[in-house]
């Protein structure tokens, strides 16, 4: 009985939990009132909806060169088809409907962001927890591995991974971007857990004889998740942006029948100075807005989930 009470106190120390309300529920309660979160959530929800239904929403096939538009395309005179009729944003450099491409592009973009973050987070969580929770040789080995991965700068690592595949495609881009994030997550998690290991509540729990797995999963991990969460929200956005970077270096998906915004942006970049900045402007805007949406939502969710911020 006494022991239980003391354990509760340790919990309270670690998470300063109030009343009996569950963490998630109280977080949600506060989130509903946060304008920042709502903005982020609305952007994200819109983005996801558009991504899911874009094939239905798109007025034209994004991959087809439309005869009507290509007639108006004379590259050497810097003429691209202007917005007209059902072609809301006009044609791209090949006389394809830009608006449809932008809509359909959301699908691949969402895929890249979500998959890359999930893979990166999972890998980093496993490695980081392993290293941070256990001292000694496991820690050393894991961190050596992470260091080796980190020792190759991230874009190069991504480049390397894309090069391992015979031909670059959307999948190789995702894997390349994801793997790059693993060591970052791992190192961050291990860093905060190291600090935790020496902190009062962990020492107290250990003194009270709480099992190691209990300490790791009930105390150290939840308390280390804050910075990791911040990182994850950034990663969701940056994986979309990194994918764009790969495209910029010529390592993106070469097939642009089902476009992705980063790919559209880097392909359109050469037209910025020639006076057709709109080809690059739209995908760039889309990336910025969506990246902002993810980050706003993640940021406020992090604040809300943080037990210390509850009042």
């Amino acid at each position: 009985m006494v022991l239980t009470r003391k354990k509760d106190r340790v919990d309270a120390l670690a998470s300063t939990s109030t009343e009996g309300m569950s963490l998630a529920a109280s977080a949600f309660r506060r989130l509903r009132r946060s304008p920042v979160f709502l903005t982020g959530a609305v952007i994200t929800a819109l983005f996801v909806l558009i991504a899911l239904f874009s094939p239905l929403l798109a007025p034209h096939d994004p991959a087809t060169q439309i005869p009507e538009l290509i007639k108006q395309t004379v590259r050497a005179r810097n003429q691209f088809a202007p917005p007209q009729g059902s072609y809301l944003l006009g044609g791209d450099q090949l006389g394809r409907d830009l608006f449809s491409r932008l809509l359909v592009g959301s699908q691949q973009t969402l895929l890249v962001g979500v998959l890359a973050t999930l893979i990166g987070l999972t890998g980093g969580l496993i490695l980081g927890t392993l290293a941070g929770a256990t001292a000694g040789w496991v820690d050393t080995t894991v961190m050596r591995f992470v260091d080796v991965l980190l020792s190759i700068p991230n874009l190069l690592l991504a480049v390397t991974i894309s090069a391992l595949f015979l031909q670059a495609n959307q999948f190789t881009v995702i894997v390349a971007v994801a793997i790059v994030q693993i060591p970052v997550f791992a190192r961050l998690l291990r860093g905060t857990m190291l600090a935790q290991r020496a902190s009062d509540h962990v020492l107290a729990a250990r003194a009270l004889g709480v099992k190691r797995s209990g300490i790791v999963f009930r105390h150290m991990l939840p308390n280390s998740l804050g910075p990791v969460f911040v990182q994850a929200t950034i990663v969701l956005a940056t994986s979309i942006i990194d994918a764009a970077g790969l495209s910029f270096l010529g390592l993106g998906n070469p097939n642009d029948d089902s476009p992705e915004w980063g790919q559209m942006l880097s392909n359109a970049q050469q037209y910025i100075t020639s006076g057709h900045a709109d080809l690059a402007f739209w995908p760039a805007c889309a990336i910025v807005v969506v990246a902002l949406g993810f980050t706003l939502m993640g940021e406020s969710a992090r604040d809300a989930l943080d037990p210390k911020n509850r009042r």
Partner: protein, 556 residues
């Protein structure tokens, strides 16, 4: 402890300051205070030059620089592909085209003071022929390998037989057989006449293969010495600039510019912005989408007439259906070439009729043509029993050429056309030097995009590239005409009579288009040099070998 730390900081700062002082004591400004009389031309480079010995050079970015420092026996008349006197004032072939005698210009000196005479010229040819080891590699002396063949080591037959000094101003070049390339070939940058003294002094032939690459001697990297209007200044690698200064003892008209600075950029977009920002006065090969805005901003686009050809190659090796002429014709009918050319190429680009651009001697204006006709294409496929044909179509990334300005876009247009007639396209893209060229030569694709830019006005320069062997990139060996086509190309090159040769090339062109069709010729495109409005006297050459000696820069 607090004090301690502060003291440590002070000590560290003091030490750093002292070191800085000591270093700056030894550091002296090494600026020359040379009085410039004349303007500096800043010209954008798309990549770093390989070296400055044109005999070992292979790429246009290097040749652009060496052209300014060196002269050849024969030169090309400004703005044309016609031969005119250079260091030689006149020449005569004899012995059925196997001996060429040259009278040399008098009183010409290399910039190191060595006299340019018959001995010096022959030393140049002997030097080329006597390459050893790494120097004979195709990657090192590529132009010689391609055009003259073997070396003194006799491993390969050579066109070169010897060089004879007849008097200080008269020498003769001996060949093993007649060649359609003479004498034009001697005007190409690689056959520049260089100072034998400087070549000896800086060990010009000392090329070594080491690891994955070649190490070039000091001559090629630091001391190129010629007779040209400009001489080598310096190559500042840390900053990516090459400087040439005026050769005040130049034998021809004195250049107006005091200095040329070549600035190295990484891509055309960056170079284009540098021009707009005023950092350079001009650059070569702007992209089609920039033409209009360049003009709008008051720049000039100097046009080179089309001297190249882009084609859709058909490799007959893997897909037996492609060995059927009807299928190849169907592909030709399926591609909407006029639309492709109009929407993606400059105004002056022309839809290609055959595997030569119109300006090359031997071009045949009356060959069978395959005008866009998707229905005819479908019908031909049906006749050949090739409905539902699937092709592996490769296209290159990381490359732009005047004839292939953005390969992805050219590919996408053709792919759409092929799909419209029911051909299924499996696409693959690879970097130009990162697998694409390997795979094309290795017969991996069924269809591929490729092109050729002429070095000089010579049909063999194109045909020997395309049809050198029956196992060429079209794998013509799979068709009965493959072997004879290669033979015919070799015969025509060795035909000494010019008229007969051109007649032969015309007939061959007709035959290729009518009966062979190893590839679908797509386009011959002009290319441009963009320069600021105040740059005068730069005349574009179809051979892309512009000389800057007459360039003037006003208002600066």
């Amino acid at each position: 402890m607090q004090m301690d730390r502060k003291r440590r900081w002070v000590a560290a700062a003091g030490t750093a300051g002292a070191v800085l002082l000591v270093v700056s004591g030894c550091a002296q400004s090494e600026r020359g205070s040379g009085g410039d009389n004349g303007a500096t031309l800043n010209f954008g480079q798309a990549s770093a030059p390989k070296l400055f010995d044109p005999f070992y050079a292979t790429d246009g970015e290097t040749f652009r620089i060496t052209e300014q420092m060196f002269d050849n026996l024969v030169e090309f008349k400004t703005g044309t592909s016609q031969v005119e006197p250079g260091l030689a004032t006149d020449w005569q072939p004899s012995d059925g085209g196997k001996t060429w005698s040259f009278n040399l210009r008098k009183n010409v000196k290399f910039t190191d003071g060595t006299a340019m005479d018959a001995t010096a010229v022959c030393k140049n040819f002997e030097r080329m022929y006597n390459q050893k080891g790494a120097g004979t590699s195709n990657a090192v002396s590529q132009y010689w390998n391609d055009n003259f063949g073997g070396f003194a080591d006799k491993k390969q037959p050579s066109l070169y037989a010897g060089c004879e000094v007849k008097s200080p101003t008269r020498m003769a070049l001996k060949l093993t057989k007649a060649s359609s390339k003479m004498p034009d070939i001697l005007g190409l940058a690689s056959w520049a006449i260089q100072s034998p003294t400087a070549m000896d002094k800086y060990h010009a032939n000392d090329v070594k293969a080491e690891g994955d690459s070649f190490v070039y001697p000091d001559y090629a990297t630091k001391h190129p010495t010629g007779t040209g209007p400009f001489k080598f200044g310096k190559y500042d690698q840390a900053n990516g600039t090459v400087e040439l200064v005026r050769n005040d003892n130049y034998w021809g008209e004195k250049p107006k510019l005091a200095k040329i600075v070549f600035k190295i950029y990484k891509d055309t977009a960056g170079t284009r912005q540098a021009l707009q920002a005023g950092e350079i006065d001009g650059y070569d090969l702007p992209q089609p989408q920039d033409y209009q805005s360049l003009r709008d901003q008051g720049n000039k686009l100097l046009e080179r007439e089309p001297f190249n050809i882009m084609y859709l190659g058909i490799d007959q090796k893997n897909n037996p259906k492609l060995r059927d002429l009807k299928v190849r014709q169907a592909i030709a009918y399926a591609i909407n070439r006029p639309q492709l050319v109009k929407s993606q190429y400059p105004d002056k680009a022309v839809v290609a009729k055959e595997m030569l651009p119109p300006s090359i001697a031997g071009f045949n204006p009356n060959v069978p043509e395959y005008n866009y006709d998707p229905n005819k294409a479908k019908q031909l496929l049906k006749e050949a029993g090739a409905e539902g044909l699937t092709v592996n179509f490769y296209w290159p990334s990381e490359v732009t050429r005047p004839y292939l300005p953005s390969p992805r876009d050219q590919f996408t247009a053709m792919k759409g056309d092929l799909e419209k007639v029911g051909i299924k396209v499996v696409e693959k893209s690879e970097p130009w030097n990162g697998g694409y060229l390997d795979d094309v030569e290795g017969h991996k694709p069924d269809l591929f995009l490729m092109g050729w830019n002429g070095d000089f006005n010579n049909a063999d320069n194109f045909f020997s590239q395309f049809f050198n062997t029956p196992t060429n990139r079209f794998y013509a060996a799979a068709s009965p005409w493959g072997a004879s086509l290669s033979e015919r190309v070799k015969q025509l090159d060795a035909t000494a009579d010019k008229a007969a040769r051109e007649q032969g090339y015309q007939e061959l062109n007709g035959q290729i288009q009518k009966d062979y069709l190893p590839a679908v010729p797509i386009v011959s495109a002009p290319s441009y040099i963009a320069v600021k409005d105040n740059i005068k006297g730069l005349v574009p050459s179809p051979l892309s070998n512009e000389k800057f000696e007459l360039v003037e820069k006003s208002g600066s």
